[in-house]
């Protein structure tokens, strides 16, 4: 990674070299490493160090942007020229309120030097633990162990100067047996948080108990969703429902329903980019400090997340939820939390009369955005629960169900939470016992 001074020089050079009315320079740096294993051996070990500069220029209300990962003075100059040329080709924006004003954003405690410096040998050791545990039990392990750091800096012509860096560590494992598989993952900002021995045991036990799955009839069942599956539910709520643009355009179930009950009283969602228990990011990609936003509180729709453009349209302030440049769809909650409840996993299980235990979902896609109607598969361990006990493993099931409807019939919320990664951000969620979930098909394994 470049030194702080070197990055600031690049950003300041970009601002000084611009002739636009307003200019923003965003630096996105990453230094990431990934060791991948399959068939109980490591088959891939890769590292990437990269840095991108994205400049946005505003000329007479016209907005243009350009990006480069060549950070030489000549390239920065060319990128500025490209952004300005792009701006001049536009019509003046009637919705863009200008760049973010100067404001402080405190650096959260989410950087760990040991995680940033974790070696290939240390990743290999983690892979060894995961592979050997599988191999000893005659299972086949496949997965990853990744670590790295991301650094984000933003400077603009309004005097805004903000910065954070964060480390990340991430381990996943699928254990495959003769007839079924199991899964476990762990992630956090510190590699020391990832206990791969515990994770290996979890994947193994899940895989062992999933063997010889049987058919059940598709239909409507209660479900006990492990946090791995709840991450998917939370991600769809975030991308389809909680962004201000989706609300403004009427694409969100929240549109016109603020203050109304949209989910069970057991459900509270909020976004908090300052909470170090998630993948904290204290300002957004426009340089606005992130605020905690209550999205749904005890089932009531409370609000949406905003960037500068959507905030201007509603006459409010940005909540600091602009997405990376080039990402379509408007602002998103990238640090989403679902409130834990009171129940242990055993208590959740005991509360299910006849239902399906889902380890995780796979290949989920939107069928209808307004109702958050989603289809997808269960994967890596699906089980029938009868009278509060797991009675037998079942083949992976296809579901086509409204996540929103499902969150209106919540029978129990777990007290423990797990951190998951979405396509852009992270979610921190508990297990959920839901009263109604529509399974529409079964596969052959």
């Amino acid at each position: 990674m470049r030194s702080i001074d070197a990055v600031m020089q690049i950003l300041e050079r970009a601002l000084r070299g611009s002739s636009a009315d307003e200019t923003e320079a965003l630096y996105l740096g990453n230094d990431t490493h990934l060791t991948r294993f399959a068939n109980n051996y490591i088959h891939q070990n890769v590292s990437e160090t990269n840095a991108r500069l994205i400049v946005r220029t505003i000329v007479e209300g016209k907005v243009g942007s350009a990006a480069t990962n060549d950070l030489s003075p000549e390239s920065v100059k060319r990128t500025l020229q490209t952004a300005t040329k792009a701006a001049l080709a536009q019509e003046p924006s009637s919705t863009f309120p200008g760049l973010a004003p100067s404001a402080d954003a405190a650096q959260p405690d989410v950087f760990d030097e040991a995680t940033a410096q974790l070696s290939a040998a240390e990743r290999a050791e983690a892979a060894r633990v995961l592979c050997e545990r599988a191999s000893r039990a005659n299972f086949i392990a496949a997965g990853t162990y990744a670590n790295g750091q991301v650094e984000v800096r933003l400077a603009n012509s309004n005097g805004q100067r903000v910065y954070y860096k964060r480390t990340e560590a991430d381990a996943t494992a699928v254990y495959q047996g003769q007839t079924a598989s199991g899964y476990a993952d762990r992630r956090g900002t510190r590699a020391a948080q990832l206990d791969v021995a515990v994770m290996a045991q979890e994947a193994l036990e899940r895989a062992q108990s999933a063997q010889n799955p049987q058919d059940i009839e598709p239909g409507t069942y209660e479900v006990l969703l492990e946090p791995y599956a709840v991450h998917d539910v939370a991600n769809f709520m975030a991308t389809l429902g909680f962004g201000a643009r989706a609300v403004q355009e009427g694409r969100s179930f929240m549109a016109g329903r603020l203050g109304e009950a949209v989910m069970s009283p057991e459900i509270s969602f909020w976004d908090d980019g300052t909470d170090p228990s998630g993948f904290a990011a204290v300002f957004d990609y426009e340089g606005t400090p992130k605020r905690r936003v209550e999205l749904v509180t005890n089932g009531l729709a409370r609000g949406a997340v905003y960037d500068r453009t959507t905030a201007s349209a509603d006459g409010v302030e940005s909540t600091g939820h602009a997405v990376p440049p080039g990402t379509l769809g408007g602002p998103l909650p990238l640090n989403l939390f679902l409130a834990p409840g009171q129940k242990s996993r055993e208590e959740l299980l005991a509360g299910v009369e006849r239902g399906v235990l889902v380890t995780r979902f796979w290949y989920t896609r939107t069928v209808h955005p307004l109702s958050v109607m989603i289809t997808g598969m269960t994967r890596d361990g699906t089980f029938l629960i009868e009278d509060g006990r797991v009675s037998r493993p079942v083949r992976s099931l296809r579901f086509t169900t409204s996540y929103l409807e499902a969150l209106n019939d919540v029978r129990g919320v777990g007290k423990d939470t797990a951190l998951g990664r979405g396509s852009l951000g992270a979610t921190c969620v508990p297990a959920l016992h839901l009263g109604s979930f529509n399974f529409t098909g079964v596969t052959e394994f």
Binding site: A38, H368, R379
Partner: protein, 275 residues
């Protein structure tokens, strides 16, 4: 781009979009389905292209994208589809989004039969995976950028045109649905159980298109579905479609791949699982 005739189609698509707002929900049941060429292209991509990637078959994508139901014991004998189903991978065909001179391991792009009259006859291979079969790579080792490792990727994976004119195919269909333009797609991690949604469907009654339906979906199990294929249209309605967002690998890689496809007819398809 010119062949797409966007200006010429704009009014029709706009009118259809408005009509869909009040169109009835697509009916449910088991029925005959005719898919337009663009949906056949995605069906080929998801239910044939991915499961014939040999690295998936050998397990190296198990942690993320998954494995494949097309295990090695099936090579050369497995009845993947009906006799009307022949699928070819061709990285050298002109005009495809998956066309190139050499792959990212330096192997020349080539034309390889994958499914011949319904039977699985080849996998997509790179240099490493081909060694499992004592074969040479058939030129599919592709990386998304300078910073990624080459993986087995589709090139242009195309269904071979059949003999039917599209109008004749419709005229020969007494009762069914015609589905156009993909909207959603999902398939399990061995590529067996799939569900697709399209933007629009039309009733076929007595060989003619009738009522418009909204929110059509269909679902199936890959080999049963392809074995239910009883007609593929001819070159008149054959287009090389593109899939610019094919995801695979860790770290993630996005590939551009092509699919030549024409409308095709499938029997006994489960339609309309959305309430």
């Amino acid at each position: 781009m010119r062949r797409q005739d966007l200006p010429g189609n704009a009014s029709r698509v706009a009118e259809e979009a408005v009509a869909l707002l009040t169109a009835p929900q697509c009916p449910s049941g088991e029925m005959t389905v005719v898919l337009d060429g663009s949906q056949v292209a995605l069906q080929v991509h998801e239910s044939c292209g991915h499961p014939v990637e040999l690295d998936r078959v050998m397990g190296t994508e198990a942690a993320y994208a998954g494995t494949s139901f097309l295990t090695l014991d099936k090579l050369g004998s497995y009845q993947y589809g009906s006799e009307h189903v022949s699928i070819i991978a061709d990285g050298s065909m002109p005009g495809g989004l998956g066309t190139f001179g050499y792959d990212d391991e330096g192997v020349p792009a080539q034309r390889v039969p994958i499914i011949e009259h319904g039977v699985l006859v080849n996998y997509l291979t790179d240099r490493q995976s081909a060694a499992h079969l004592d074969q040479r790579s058939n030129g599919t080792g592709r990386a998304s950028s300078w910073g990624r490792t080459p993986l087995v990727r589709m090139t242009n994976l195309s269904i071979v045109p059949g003999t039917w004119r599209f109008d004749d195919l419709l005229a020969d269909t007494d009762d069914g649905l015609y589905m156009q333009t993909n909207r959603s797609w999902s398939i399990d991690d061995r590529r067996l159980n799939f569900q697709f949604g399209t933007e629009i469907a039309w009733e076929i009654k007595g060989g003619k298109l009738g009522k418009m339906y909204r929110n059509p979906t269909y679902t199936g199990i890959t080999p049963r579905f392809w074995n239910g294929c009883d007609a593929v249209c001819n070159e008149e309605s054959y287009v090389i479609w593109g899939t610019p967002n094919c995801g695979k690998g860790q770290p993630s890689q996005v590939a551009h791949v092509g699919h030549g496809a024409a409308p095709a007819c499938f029997r006994n398809v489960r339609v309309g699982v959305v309430r």
